[in-house]
C-alpha cells in the first residue's frame, strides 16, 4: 500500500508540474494572436481615405441629398427622413466614421509621418483630414476639432464652424508646403488627380462656404484641371469596393430611396415647369444618365448603366466643382465675362460627358447678374448630383435656386448632434433641430 501512495504522489506532482510549466499565465492573454498592436503609417492612410469616401458618398451624402432635394425617401425609414422626421440616433454612424475611422487615423499618420520625415505622406494625410473636417463641419456646423482625437481629452469641446474651416485651410496650406503633388498614397482613389490641385480646390471650397470669394477665386485658379478629378475608385465589381449609391440603391436597400418627386427630377424632366431645357440646352441625355424610370420606384437614381452604376467612380473633388467655384466667384466680383467662360467650360464638359445640347451661353442670355448667379448655382446643383456640396450652396445662398421642401416651408439646415456624442461628451450641445441655421449660413 505504501508503494501505491508514492505512485499517487508522483502522479499528482507530474500533473501539477505539467499544468504550471506549459503556459505562463501572465502572458497568455497579453497579445491577441489574431490582431496587430501597431502599424506603419503608409499602411494606415488607405483606411482613412476609405472613411472619407464612405462619408462623402454613403449615408451622410444620402441624407444631405434628401435635404437638398437631390433624393426623396420612398420606403421604410427613408419615408420619415424625407418628412424631416429624424432623431439624434440616426446620425451616429457617419459621425463615428468621420472621427474614429477618418480624423483620428489622419492625426496618428501625421504624427508618425513627421517622425519618419515622410513629407509626401504627411501632405496626403493633411489633405485627407481637411477633407473630413470640411465634410463634418458642412453637416453639423460646430464640431470638435482642436480637442478631438486626443487620448488625454475625454470630452472634446465643440469648435466654431468658422474655426474648423480655418483649421482645414491651414492643413491644406501645410500639405502644399510639404510639397503635395502627384498621386502618392492614393490607393482609395482613381483618376489622374494631382494632390496640389486637390488641395487648392478644397481650399476654394472652404473659402466659398465662408463667403470669402476673393480667396476662393485665388485658390480655385490653382485648382483641379480638366480631366484631373479626384475620384473614389469603384472599378471592382464587388461589395466593399463598388459604388456606394449602387450598393444602397440596388444591392442592399432597393426601393428605399428614389428620385421621384425630387427637385432634381423637376429640373431635368421635360414635363416639369422647372425644366432647364431651352434653346441652347437639351438635358434629356443627362436625364437618362441620372435616372431610371419605374425600376424600383417611379424614378430611380440610375444604377443600371448610369451615374451610379456598380463600377462607376464617384467624384470627391472635381474639375466641374472647381470651374463653378471660379464662375461664381467671378460673378460675385462683377466679372461676368470670366464667369461665363467657366460656366461654359462646364457646359461643354457636360456635352462631352452626357451628350445632349449645351451651347455656350453669352451675356445676353441672362436678364440680370443675379439670374446668372442662379444659373451657375443651379448648374452646380445638377452637376454635383449625389454630392454634399450642393446642400452647402443651398444653405449658403438662402436657397437661391428655389428648392421646394418635401414638407413645411423650410429646408433642413444641419444634421442633429448624434445621440452617442450627447450621451458621452458633457461638452456636446443638445441635439438641436434640423432647422437650426449654422454659424456660417444664417437664414
Amino acid at each position: 500500500m505504501k508503494k501505491l501512495s508514492y505512485i499517487l504522489v508522483a502522479g499528482v506532482a507530474l500533473m501539477v508540474g505539467a499544468s504550471s510549466c506549459t503556459k505562463d499565465i501572465k502572458e497568455i492573454n497579453k497579445v491577441n494572436p489574431g490582431q496587430f498592436s501597431d502599424s506603419d503609417p503608409t499602411l494606415m492612410i488607405t483606411g482613412a481615405q476609405l472613411a472619407n469616401v464612405l462619408v462623402n458618398e454613403g449615408e451622410a451624402a444620402r441624407l444631405a441629398g434628401i435635404f437638398s432635394g437631390h433624393h426623396n425617401g420612398y420606403d421604410r425609414q427613408f419615408i420619415s427622413y424625407a418628412q424631416y422626421n429624424m432623431t439624434a440616433g440616426d446620425f451616429n454612424t457617419p459621425w463615428g466614421n468621420l472621427y474614429t475611422e477618418g480624423i483620428a487615423q489622419c492625426r496618428i499618420i501625421r504624427e508618425k509621418a513627421a517622425r519618419a520625415n515622410n513629407k509626401s505622406l504627411n501632405a496626403v494625410a493633411c489633405i485627407t483630414e481637411a477633407n473630413l473636417l470640411l465634410t463634418a463641419s458642412a453637416l453639423w456646423g460646430d464640431i470638435p476639432d482642436s480637442e478631438a482625437c486626443n487620448d488625454a481629452i475625454t470630452a472634446p469641446k465643440f469648435d466654431k464652424m468658422s474655426d474648423v474651416h480655418k483649421h482645414a485651410i491651414a492643413l491644406l496650406d501645410s500639405a502644399l508646403a510639404y510639397g503635395a503633388a502627384g498621386q502618392a498614397y492614393g490607393s482609395a482613389y482613381a483618376g489622374s488627380y494631382d494632390w496640389a490641385e486637390v488641395a487648392n480646390t478644397l481650399k476654394a471650397r472652404a473659402y466659398l462656404r465662408m463667403g470669402d470669394y476673393t480667396n476662393a477665386l485665388d485658390a480655385a485658379k490653382n485648382g483641379i484641371a480638366a480631366g484631373n478629378d479626384l475620384m473614389a475608385d469603384h472599378s471592382q465589381a464587388t461589395p466593399g469596393a463598388w459604388n456606394l449609391y449602387y450598393d444602397f440603391l440596388d444591392w442592399n436597400r432597393s426601393g428605399y430611396m428614389s428620385a421621384s418627386g425630387s427637385h432634381m427630377e423637376a429640373l431635368l424632366d421635360t414635363g416639369s415647369t422647372k425644366c432647364r431645357n431651352n434653346a441652347k440646352t437639351d438635358e434629356l441625355s443627362r436625364f437618362d444618365n441620372y435616372f431610371l424610370v419605374d425600376y424600383y420606384t417611379p424614378l430611380d437614381p440610375n444604377i443600371d448603366g448610369g451615374i451610379f452604376s456598380a463600377t462607376n467612380n464617384f467624384p470627391i473633388v472635381s474639375y466641374v466643382e472647381n470651374e463653378l467655384i471660379l464662375a461664381e466667384c467671378y460673378a460675385r466680383g462683377g466679372d461676368f465675362p470670366n464667369a461665363l467662360v467657366h460656366l461654359n467650360n462646364v457646359r461643354s464638359s457636360n456635352a462631352a460627358t452626357y451628350g445632349g445640347q449645351y451651347d455656350a451661353y453669352d451675356l445676353t442670355d441672362f436678364a440680370s447678374p443675379a439670374e446668372g448667379i442662379v444659373e451657375i448655382l443651379t448648374e452646380k446643383y445638377v452637376s454635383l448630383y449625389g454630392q454634399i456640396e450642393p446642400w452647402c450652396d443651398v444653405r449658403r445662398t438662402k436657397n437661391a435656386i428655389g428648392v421646394t421642401p418635401y414638407t413645411g416651408t423650410q429646408l433642413p439646415q444641419r444634421f442633429l448632434v448624434p445621440q452617442d456624442e450627447i450621451n458621452a461628451n458633457k461638452n456636446a450641445p443638445a441635439a438641436g433641430s434640423l432647422f437650426d441655421a449654422l454659424e456660417l449660413w444664417p437664414q
Binding site: 501539477v16 491577441n32 483606411g47 476609405l50 422626421n85 432623431t87 472621427y99 478631438a148 456606394l244
Partner: protein, 1034 residues
C-alpha cells in the same frame, strides 16, 4: 454524534462517485424543485455531497425524472419552472434551440450572464457561439447532454455556495450529477413519440390586396392595395409577355398592361382568392420527434456501472429542412479496488446534426418573407424558370411576392425558398471524459484526483443559392469549424476531525486548474461562378470573392481553495470558504471568501406537530467575473468603414490597410467583484406535511467590465473599463404540501416564487451601452435602469407629458432617444400538482411571468406593410365629417376621395354619399385624425423612428407541463416478459399560453443567448408539444 452517523457524514461528503456502500447518498424522494428534503443530501459546487440539513445557503434540487418528463430535448430548457429565480428563455422553437439561463438577475454587462455548469465535478462548456439580429438559432452546448442520463441537478444560486469557483461563479453554478449503477442489474428502454406545433401565430388581414394608395401594384412591398372582394374574378394576363414556369409546370404570366385608374383600383389583377391560409400551411407542419433511450445499470460490492444509449430525432414545426438529431452514449464506471482505493471513469459522447432555418432581420429569413407576403399572393410555387417575352429562359428563378415572375431575385425570400433551398447545417461532435481516483490515505482523510476533458467541434455550413434575396443574389456559401476544449485537473483532500464531544470539523482543500481554448476557422465564397449546381466548395468563386477567417482564444486559470465545515451540537453548522485564483485575463490573484451559518432552531423548540422542523440560515460571500480575454491592448485592425445600411468600403480590396481600432484597450483591467448576502429559513409544518423555504438576498457587482461608449470625437468609439456597478436584490420561496398521502393516493402541491430587482447603479457617467438590437430600438445597460432596458425613439412631449402634435393633429418624434421599458419581470412563479392514484401518476405545472416588457418589432413592421389586421379596419363617415378629418399628410378624407390617384382600398364613396375608409380614427388631443397608409408607413409603423409605441407588456401565464403516466398491471408486464414493468404516459408541454403580447410566444428572444433581452423581430416562433411515451424495465 454517534459512530454510525459520523460514518454517514463521511460517506456523504466523500465523492461524486460514491463508495458502493454509500448508496444512501443518492438523493431520493424529493419532488421537483423542492429544496427542503431534510435528511437527503445535496451535491456541492465541487461535486461532493453534503446533507441538505447542514447547508447555510439555498440549493434548488431537480430530479432527473422531472427533466425527462418535461419532454424538452435540452437539459436547460427542462429546468424551466422548477426552481425559484431561475429564469430560462429559449431562443426560439427551432429544434435544438439554445436557451438563456439567468439566476437571480444579471451580474455583468459584457461578460456572460450564464451560470457555470459542473458535470460530475468537472466544469463543462455551455457556450452558444453566435447570436445576433439575423442568421439562424444556435444551440447551447449543454443541450448535448442526454437528460435521461441525469440523476439530479443542483442549482447553487448564491455567492456562498459557489465561492470555490471564484471568477466563474458570479452567475451561480448548476451542478449536474449523472446516474450511477444501482444494486443488481436493470435494463430500461423507453421510447417517446412527440408532436410539436407552433404555439402562437400572427394574424394577417385578408381584405386588401398588394399595392399602395388603395390600388393594386404587382411586386409592391405593402398591402395597402385595392379591395380584394371588389375585383372582377380573374387576372388579365399578357399572352405575349414574360412568364414564370414553376418546377411542376404551373405557368404564371405577366399581367397585361391594364392601368389602374379612378374607376379601376385593381388594374390587371382580378383574382379574389386570399392565400393567407395556403401560405401559412406552406410554412408550418406538425413537428415529429422520436426519442429512444436504452440504459443498463448494474452494481455489486466491488463496482458499479451505468451505461446508456440515446437517440433524439426531431423534425421541427417548420416545413423543409428544420431538424435536430442527437445520438449519445455514456458509460459511468466505478471500481472499489479495496478499502482504500476507488477508481472511476465517466465517459460521454454525443453527436448532433441539425438543419436550421434563417430568421430575424434578414431578407433571406423565414418569417420576414412569410409575414410580409401580401394576402392575395400565392407563395406555393417559388422555384422554376423565368422566360422573357422573347422566350429566353433563366433557370432556378426565384418567385416571391416582390418579384412575381422571378425575373431577378425578389426583395424578400419566398418562404418556400428559405425552407427548402437554403442550407444551414450544424454538425457537432462532443466528448467528455472524467477519470477519477479516490484514495483513503488515512482513516479520516480521503484524497480525490479528478481529470476532465471536454471537447466539442461544430461544423457549420451556410449556403444561399443564386437568386436568394438581398445581397446573396449571386450566391453565398460559408463553412466554419468551431473547436472548443476545456481541460481541467482537480485535486481534493477531505478530512474529518472530532474536535470535542459536540464539535465535528470537516475540511476540504483543493487545487483546480482549467485550460480553455476556442478556435474557429472558416471561409466564405460569394458571387458563384457555376450558378446552378449546389456545391459546398470555395472554388465556386473567384479569388477576390473568397474570404477566409479565423479566431483563437485561450484562457488559463488556477485556483486554490479551502473549506471548513463545523458541526456544533448537531445544531449549528458553519461553513467557511476561501479561494485564491490566478487567471490569464487579469493581473493579480483574486481572493474569494465566503461563509455560511445554519441553525436548526427546532432542536431548541419543544417538539410540536405544528412546527416539525425549522432552520435559519445566513450566508455571504464574494465571487467574481473574469474580464474577457485580450482587452489589455488597443489593437490595430483591418480597415473598413460601414454606413449601417449594408454599404461599406473594405480596405482589403484596396491593397490592404491596417489602422488603429476604435476600441481602446486597458491594461489595468481587474475582475468584476460580486458581493452577496442572503438570509433565509426552512420550515416544515404539520408533521412535515408542509415545507416552506424562504430566502432574501442582495448583491452588488462592482467594476463590471465593459467597452463603455465614449464620445466618438475622442477618436474611439469604445473603451474597456471596470466601469459599471450593478445590483440585484430579491426574494424567493419554495413550497411543498403533501395534501394526501395514502397507500393508493398521493397528492402534492408544489410551487415556487421569485422576484429580482436589477439595477445598473453606475456606468461611471458613460453613455448607455448597446447590448443587442437595432439602431432604432435596442436592449441596453443604462444608468439607473435595470439591465437590458429598452432604448429608442420616443414621442415628443411637453413638460406635462402631453404629446406635442403637428399641424395636422398627429404626434411627433422627439429628437433625442431615451429609455422605453424594462424586459425584466416583476416576478416569476409556478405552481404544480403531482402525485399518484394507484397505477397512475401525474404532474401539472403552471408557470407565470409578470411585469416584463418586450419590443413588438414584428408587429410594428406588419403595420408598416399593411398586414396587421388593425391597419385593415374600416370606418364610414358622412360627407360633412369627411371635410374635417385629415390624414398624416394633412389631406382630408373628402380630398382623398376626390383624388383619382386614390383607389378603393384607401377611400370609397358610397351611393348615399358617405365615404368608407381603410384605417382608423384616432384623437390625439386635437380632434379626430385618420390613421391610414401614410401614418403606418411613417411615424405610426415599425419603420418610423418612434419605437416607444411598440414596447408592450409581455407578461404570460402558461400550462407548462401536464404529465400522466400509467404503470401497466404486473400481470400484463409479466405476460409480455417485462418483469420490471411497463409504463405508458403522455406529456403535454406549453399546452396553453395566456399573454397579451401579439403574435409570438414572449418566451423567445431574437438575439438568442446574449445579454440583449426582450427583442422580437421576425423571430422563429415557439412551440407546444404532445408527447406519448412507453417505458420497459427489463
Amino acid at each position: 454524534m454517534n459512530k454510525k452517523s459520523l460514518l454517514m457524514v463521511m460517506a456523504a461528503s466523500a465523492c461524486a462517485i460514491p463508495f458502493a456502500t454509500a448508496q444512501t447518498a443518492s438523493p431520493g424522494g424529493s419532488t421537483d424543485g423542492d429544496t427542503l428534503n431534510v435528511g437527503t443530501v445535496t451535491v456541492t459546487a465541487i461535486g461532493t455531497t453534503k446533507s441538505v440539513r447542514k447547508t447555510g445557503y439555498t440549493v434548488s434540487q431537480v430530479q432527473g425524472k422531472g427533466l425527462v418528463s418535461s419532454g424538452e430535448s435540452g437539459v436547460i430548457q427542462a429546468l424551466t419552472g422548477k426552481a425559484s429565480n431561475v429564469q430560462i428563455t429559449k431562443s426560439a422553437g427551432d429544434p435544438g434551440a439554445g436557451a438563456y439561463i439567468q439566476i437571480r438577475g444579471q451580474n455583468t454587462i459584457s461578460g456572460s450572464n450564464q451560470p457555470l455548469i459542473v458535470v460530475d465535478g468537472i466544469p463543462v462548456s455551455n457556450s452558444s457561439f453566435g447570436g445576433g439580429t439575423d442568421g439562424v438559432v444556435q444551440q447551447s452546448r449543454l443541450n448535448d447532454l442526454n437528460p435521461s442520463d441525469i440523476e439530479s441537478i443542483e442549482v447553487l444560486k448564491g455567492a456562498a455556495a459557489a465561492a470555490v469557483w471564484g471568477t466563474r461563479a458570479a452567475n451561480g453554478v448548476i451542478v449536474i450529477t449523472t446516474k450511477k449503477g444501482k444494486r443488481g442489474m436493470s435494463i430500461e428502454f423507453s421510447s417517446t413519440y412527440s408532436i410539436d406545433q407552433v404555439n402562437r401565430e400572427y394574424e394577417k388581414q385578408g381584405t386588401f390586396g398588394q399595392g399602395s394608395v388603395g390600388k393594386f401594384a404587382a411586386n409592391a412591398a405593402n398591402s395597402f392595395g385595392d379591395r380584394i372582394a371588389l375585383r372582377d374574378g380573374s387576372d388579365s394576363i399578357n399572352p405575349a409577355g414574360a412568364r414564370f414556369v414553376s418546377d411542376d409546370g404551373t405557368v404564371y404570366g405577366a399581367y397585361a398592361a391594364v392601368p389602374t385608374s379612378a374607376t379601376n383600383s385593381s388594374g390587371a389583377k382580378g383574382d379574389k382568392t386570399v392565400y393567407n391560409d395556403a401560405n401559412r400551411d406552406q410554412v408550418f407542419r406538425n413537428g415529429i420527434t422520436m426519442n429512444n433511450n436504452l440504459s443498463i445499470s448494474s452494481a455489486n460490492e466491488k463496482s458499479n456501472m451505468f451505461f446508456s444509449l440515446s437517440d433524439w430525432n426531431q423534425k421541427g414545426i417548420m416545413n423543409g429542412t428544420s431538424d435536430y438529431r442527437r445520438t449519445t452514449a455514456r458509460l459511468n464506471f466505478n471500481q472499489h479496488v479495496n478499502n482504500k482505493l476507488d477508481v472511476g471513469l465517466n465517459a460521454f459522447m454525443s453527436r448532433i446534426t441539425s438543419n436550421r432555418i434563417q430568421q430575424g432581420s434578414n431578407l433571406d429569413g423565414l418569417y420576414l418573407g412569410y409575414l410580409r407576403t401580401a394576402p392575395d399572393f400565392d407563395n406555393t410555387d417559388y422555384r422554376g424558370t423565368y422566360y422573357s417575352a422573347a422566350g429566353i429562359p433563366k433557370f432556378n428563378a426565384h418567385r416571391g411576392y416582390r418579384r412575381y415572375l422571378g425575373d431577378v431575385a425578389p426583395t424578400y425570400n419566398n418562404p418556400g425558398w428559405t425552407l427548402n433551398e437554403q442550407t444551414n447545417t450544424s454538425d457537432v461532435t462532443r466528448f467528455t471524459m472524467t477519470p477519477e481516483l479516490g484514495y483513503k490515505w488515512k482513516e479520516n482523510s480521503k484524497f480525490i484526483a479528478r481529470l476532465g476533458y471536454d471537447m466539442s467541434t461544430d461544423r457549420r455550413i451556410t449556403y444561399f443559392p443564386v437568386n436568394s434575396a438581398g445581397s446573396y443574389a449571386n450566391g453565398s456559401f460559408s463553412d466554419q469549424n468551431i473547436q472548443e476544449s476545456e481541460l481541467s485537473m482537480h485535486f481534493i483532500n477531505q478530512s474529518s476531525f472530532k474536535l470535542s464531544k459536540s464539535i465535528n470539523l470537516n475540511t476540504t482543500a483543493g487545487y483546480l486548474y482549467t485550460y480553455n481554448t476556442l478556435y474557429s476557422i472558416g471561409g466564405t465564397a460569394s458571387q458563384f461562378i457555376i450558378r446552378d449546381q449546389d456545391r459546398f466548395a470555395f472554388i465556386n468563386a473567384t479569388t477576390e470573392n473568397q474570404d477566409p477567417f479565423n479566431s483563437y482564444s485561450e484562457l488559463l486559470n488556477n485556483r486554490l481553495y479551502a473549506v471548513l465545515d463545523f458541526d456544533i451540537q448537531d445544531k449549528f453548522f458553519i461553513q467557511a470558504t476561501a479561494a485564491s485564483e490566478a487567471s490569464s485575463t487579469f493581473a493579480d490573484r483574486f481572493f474569494s471568501p465566503s461563509a455560511s451559518l445554519a441553525y436548526e432552531l427546532s432542536k431548541d423548540l419543544p417538539k410540536s406537530d405544528l412546527l416539525s422542523y425549522a432552520k435559519l440560515r445566513a450566508s455571504g460571500g464574494r465571487v467574481g467575473v473574469a474580464p474577457p480575454a485580450y482587452i489589455w491592448n488597443t489593437n490595430y485592425v483591418s480597415a473598413g468603414s460601414s454606413s449601417g445600411w449594408g454599404d461599406y468600403m473594405d480596405a482589403s480590396l484596396f491593397g490592404g490597410s491596417i489602422y488603429r481600432s476604435s476600441t481602446q484597450g486597458n491594461p489595468d483591467i481587474r475582475p468584476e467583484m460580486k458581493t452577496e448576502i442572503e438570509i433565509g429559513a426552512d420550515f416544515k409544518f404539520f408533521k412535515n406535511k408542509v415545507s416552506l423555504g424562504v430566502t432574501y438576498y442582495k448583491n452588488n457587482i462592482e467594476g463590471a467590465v465593459l467597452p463603455i461608449t465614449v464620445a466618438n470625437s475622442t477618436g474611439y468609439s469604445n473603451q474597456w473599463k471596470n466601469a459599471a456597478d450593478l445590483s440585484n436584490k430579491g426574494f424567493e420561496a419554495d413550497l411543498n404540501v403533501n395534501v394526501i398521502k395514502k397507500k393508493d393516493l398521493v397528492v402534492n402541491v408544489y410551487g415556487n416564487f421569485g422576484m429580482n430587482r436589477n439595477m445598473v447603479e453606475s456606468l461611471s457617467g458613460a453613455a448607455p451601452i448597446f447590448l443587442q438590437g437595432f439602431t432604432g430600438t435596442s436592449s441596453r445597460a443604462v444608468e439607473g435602469q435595470a439591465m437590458g432596458a429598452f432604448w429608442g425613439g420616443k414621442w415628443a412631449r411637453d413638460n406635462d407629458g402631453k404629446l406635442l402634435l403637428d399641424a395636422n393633429g398627429f404626434p411627433q418624434a422627439a429628437s433625442e432617444e431615451g429609455v422605453l421599458g424594462d424586459p425584466n419581470p416583476d416576478w416569476r412563479g409556478s405552481i404544480g400538482l403531482n402525485g399518484n392514484f394507484k397505477r397512475l401518476s401525474f404532474n401539472v405545472l403552471v408557470e407565470a411571468c409578470q411585469g416584463n416588457q418586450m419590443w413588438a418589432g414584428t408587429y410594428g413592421i406588419l403595420k408598416n406593410f399593411g398586414i396587421a389586421p388593425e391597419t385593415a379596419n374600416e370606418f364610414t363617415v358622412t360627407a360633412d365629417e369627411a371635410q374635417n378629418i385629415v390624414d398624416y399628410r394633412g389631406v382630408s378624407i373628402a380630398a382623398a376621395a376626390a383624388n383619382p390617384a386614390a383607389g378603393n382600398g384607401l377611400v370609397m364613396t358610397n351611393a348615399d354619399g358617405t365615404i368608407t375608409c381603410r384605417g382608423n380614427i384616432e384623437d390625439y388631443g386635437n380632434g379626430k385624425v385618420w390613421l391610414n397608409q401614410y401614418w403606418y408607413t411613417g411615424l405610426g409603423g415599425g419603420f418610423g423612428s418612434v419605437s416607444e409605441q411598440f414596447i408592450q407588456d409581455a407578461s404570460w401565464v402558461r400550462l407548462r407541463e401536464l404529465t400522466m403516466n400509467y404503470a401497466l398491471p404486473e400481470g400484463v408486464a409479466n405476460a409480455l416478459h417485462v418483469p420490471g414493468g411497463i409504463t405508458v404516459g403522455f406529456t403535454g408541454r406549453n399546452l396553453a399560453l395566456w399573454t397579451k403580447f401579439p403574435g409570438v410566444d414572449p418566451e423567445t428572444n431574437l438575439t438568442g443567448v446574449t445579454n440583449g433581452r426582450g427583442l422580437d423581430y421576425f423571430n422563429n416562433p415557439g412551440t407546444k408539444s404532445f408527447m406519448f411515451n412507453i417505458k420497459f424495465n427489463l
